[in-house]
Symmetry: C2
């Protein structure tokens, strides 16, 4: 008997519709319940993220579950400091609006996941990185996006904290020298489900239309 | 009558299983059929990509359908030149292996889509970008990943060409000053469906295991 190659899946209209619904309802969550997400569910999300595209099949993503209470407090302080500095960049009404936004769920989210890219990885043998070396980091970003969608499909919320000093995160987490922080993620069950982005509901920034984003040459 | 908020969707186990199948069978495609992908299907994929997360809801993605034959030829020449230079970086068996790889579908793919990020966008009012400004580019990458998944669900293949001089692409496409190239995508119906990455089948780079990618602190 020979091993037959696996039969390619067919995705029907009902699945495509549900997939679009997933895209529509994926949210950047900052309001979490504090009850934990099961460890095997979290690992399953990370496994799915590892199916993401990566340049040269380099798989440069490195996921770090941040479990230590002292380290988590350092990360929270890092965010608070960066957020105060960011507030200082705004004036007048924008500053008042910024001050009212909730920009991270670090206090409540039961799972903290730092996502790095290993800039020194041998995997992929450098393929595809000569003219656009930043695609290594982009591979890590694709993994974050995949994890986000898998999480939402499982009813789990993800919030991306970018208001943070990345070098200090590397120090707090004792990251190896060649690792670069891509994202610091809060993960947990959301306090509420929403169709619209929180920043749109808060009046900070609404959505554009396809004509604003699509061009032809 | 008041407008009730939309009811949040529930994603069941069958959907989650199909979603994982989608992640498993998404491929970087370099072998395309030449028959066109319908314009409204392509626009639908781009619309779905616009549902991706973006820092501060900045929606910095700019999609350019490259339709002009002269411009497409310039892009192809750009790739050929960059690929020859890249080959020069390898020696011995690796160089021989590299030379055998098919690294773009630019000749056959009916649709060429350049994805840029507008570094000068006012949308989002700079929120979330003070300490990690690169998250603006990362938002464009998330859109590429979303488009890729939507495409695969529709039976359409996507190939990401990163072996290309990005500044020359900007010039060829007369991109506005503040735009930065994130990805140049080939889009079309794949010549064949595969479960495993092409670079794995070609013996260039195989996949690692979860233990290589998951850490705790």
């Amino acid at each position: 008997m020979t091993d037959l190659p696996p039969k390619p899946p067919e995705f029907d209209a009902a699945f495509r519709e549900q997939l679009e619904t997933l895209f529509v309802w994926r949210r950047d969550v900052r309001h979490f319940r504090t009850d934990p997400v099961a460890a095997d569910l979290v690992e399953g999300l990370i496994s799915q993220a590892c199916l993401s595209p990566s340049v040269g099949n380099s798989q440069p993503w490195r996921f770090v579950l941040v479990e230590d209470a002292v380290r988590r407090r350092e990360i929270r302080d890092n965010f608070v400091k960066a957020n105060e500095a960011a507030l200082g960049d705004y004036e007048g009404e924008r500053a008042a609006a910024y001050a009212k936004l909730k920009l991270s769920g670090l206090d409540d989210a039961p799972t903290h996941l730092a996502v790095f890219v290993d800039k020194g990885t041998e995997r992929g043998h450098g393929l595809g990185r000569q003219t656009m070396p930043e695609v290594l980091e982009y591979s890590g970003v694709a993994a974050v996006n995949t994890l986000w969608l898998a999480a939402r499909a499982a009813g789990v919320g993800v919030g991306w904290v970018s208001i943070i000093d990345p070098d200090a995160v590397c120090e707090t987490l004792a990251a190896p020298e060649n690792w670069r922080l891509i994202a610091y993620l809060c993960i947990g069950y959301p306090a509420a489900a929403h169709r619209d982005p929180e920043l749109q509901r808060a009046g900070w920034q609404s959505r554009g239309h396809l004509k604003d984003f699509l061009f032809r040459r």
